[in-house]
């Protein structure tokens, strides 16, 4: 028991590693702040482009989305970080993570948002357009608010996945939470920093999980 406490719940070790962990936490927050908006913006763009009546364009977009949903994110990240430099494109850890997350999570967000847009009845477009609203105003003020509302649980769920996935940045030496915890672990020869990192993830994500749970159990919306 004593051994367990001293190797997993060693407060002294965690305290000694606090600077590393704090920096890791800050970098993880930075990654979230980059990956989520990038993924959402890219996903929205893909979803809107797929509204085009041009069949071949829709097909190409579907292939693009399929491709990046099928590719394991870790493989994608390693390729961007270690493969692209062979083509003379060196993005560095942060740039590689940003590009890989844009490609991966925007594909998922795009599918969700497209389903949301599809769920808004045609009559909503028609009512708005027949009163003289432009297509853009109709989209922004009438269709998207309803679309987002209809797929909110899926959007939150995907965001949860994106946040968790930021830990793969550790493989490209991005000093985020997991990477720093492993550094601390190898220096102190003690697993407590990893436990601390896990706890931080838990505290960060638990509210989001609660929110998701509430959204999923919400009574069917009035719409």
């Amino acid at each position: 028991m004593e051994l367990f406490v001293s190797s997993f719940l060693n407060v002294e070790v965690v305290w000694a590693a606090r600077a590393l962990l704090l920096q890791g936490f800050a970098n993880t927050m930075l990654l979230i702040a980059i990956a989520v908006p990038l993924g959402l913006a890219g996903g929205l763009l893909l979803a809107l482009l797929s509204l085009t009546p041009v069949r071949i364009a829709r097909l190409l977009l579907a292939v693009w989305v399929d491709l990046f949903r099928a590719l394991p994110p870790l493989v994608l990240l390693v390729f961007v970080y270690e493969g692209l430099p062979f083509a003379g494109l060196e993005l560095g850890p942060l740039g590689s993570v940003a590009v890989a997350f844009l490609l991966n999570s925007s594909a998922y967000y795009a599918e969700i948002l497209r389903a949301g847009i599809d769920s808004v009845p045609r009559g909503q477009w028609e009512a708005a357009r027949s009163s003289g609203l432009s297509a853009l105003d109709t989209l922004g003020w009438v269709v998207l608010p309803q679309a987002v509302r209809n797929v909110l649980p899926d959007l939150v769920s995907n965001t949860l996945e994106v946040v968790k996935l930021t830990s793969i940045a550790s493989v490209v030496a991005m000093p985020e939470l997991l990477y720093q915890a492993r550094q601390a672990q190898s220096v102190t020869y003690n697993a407590s920093p990893l436990v601390a990192a896990a706890l931080i993830y838990l505290l960060l994500l638990w509210p989001l999980v609660r929110l998701l749970s509430r959204l999923e159990h919400r009574l069917p919306s009035r719409m």
Binding site: P121, Q124, S131, G132, L133, D137, P145, Q146
Partner: protein
């Protein structure tokens, strides 16, 4: 004709793939006229209505609305649609906005009024349809009849030159139909030009200047209601009138 036409549609054809929905329809509507369109389902009445503000693009034909070539590429369709109000069978209110928001929305985004002015005009449009006290209600909190009246207010608030009604009472419970027809009568008395696709024969009897009977994508007969109903010339109209009586 009472005066110059507000809508002049000539030789309108519309096909969906191999399906011919409109097969050379002419429709001329004079200012302050109420034209009532009847016909069996699938006769093309709704499609004709939807061509008038280009919700559907006719395959061929010519439409002049309020002096403007509706189908011309360079026509600012949004500016034109503002002057052609439309009311739908399924109301199509924006569920995430209050009744007031529904009516004020285009006033702000299309007409460009400031919030206060838009809401003032929206309130008077809601008062016109008898729903001044429901301004803050969301569509889901309103009955079907009330929702349709908000939809009428939403169209009227833009001060259109003509209003198109696409089966405005078909989705309503019978006891709610009256309130919507009353508002339409009131609009009519205010001199609004209207094109109404509907099965409400009582309303047609009371308010229509002219009735068009459509079948198979064509106008089969037209004229004052008494002439059409009293002395139908075509077999198809006779059959249609018999089918109405059975209800």
């Amino acid at each position: 004709m009472l005066s110059r036409p507000i809508i002049e549609a000539r030789a309108i054809h519309k096909s969906f793939g191999p399906l011919k929905v409109l097969d050379g329809v002419d429709l001329v509507v004079a200012e302050r006229e109420l034209v009532f369109i009847i016909g069996p389902s699938g006769s093309g009445k709704s499609t004709l209505l939807r061509c008038l503000n280009r919700l559907e693009e006719p395959t061929s034909g010519h439409i002049v609305g309020d002096g403007i070539d509706v189908l011309a590429r360079r026509t600012d369709i949004n500016a034109l649609r503002r002057r052609i109000g439309m009311v739908f069978q399924s109301f199509n209110l924006y569920p995430h906005m209050t009744a007031l928001g529904n009516v004020a929305f285009a006033l702000r985004r299309v007409v460009g009024l400031r919030r206060r002015d838009a809401e003032e005009r929206a309130r008077s449009a809601l008062a016109l349809v008898g729903l001044a006290d429901k301004a803050d209600a969301y569509p889901a909190q309103l009955s079907g009849g009330q929702q349709q009246r908000v939809a009428i207010a939403r169209a009227v608030a833009l001060e259109p030159r003509v209003m198109l009604f696409d089966e405005p009472t078909s989705a309503l419970d019978p006891e709610l139909v009256g309130s919507v027809l009353r508002v339409m009568r009131q609009l009519r008395e205010g001199g609004m030009t209207m094109v109404v696709v509907s099965h409400e024969m009582e309303f047609a009897r009371a308010a229509a200047d002219r009735v068009l009977f459509m079948d198979g994508g064509r106008v089969i007969e037209q004229g004052p209601l008494d002439c059409l109903f009293g002395a139908p010339k075509s077999d198809r109209l006779r059959a249609f009138l018999r089918s109405l009586e059975r209800h």
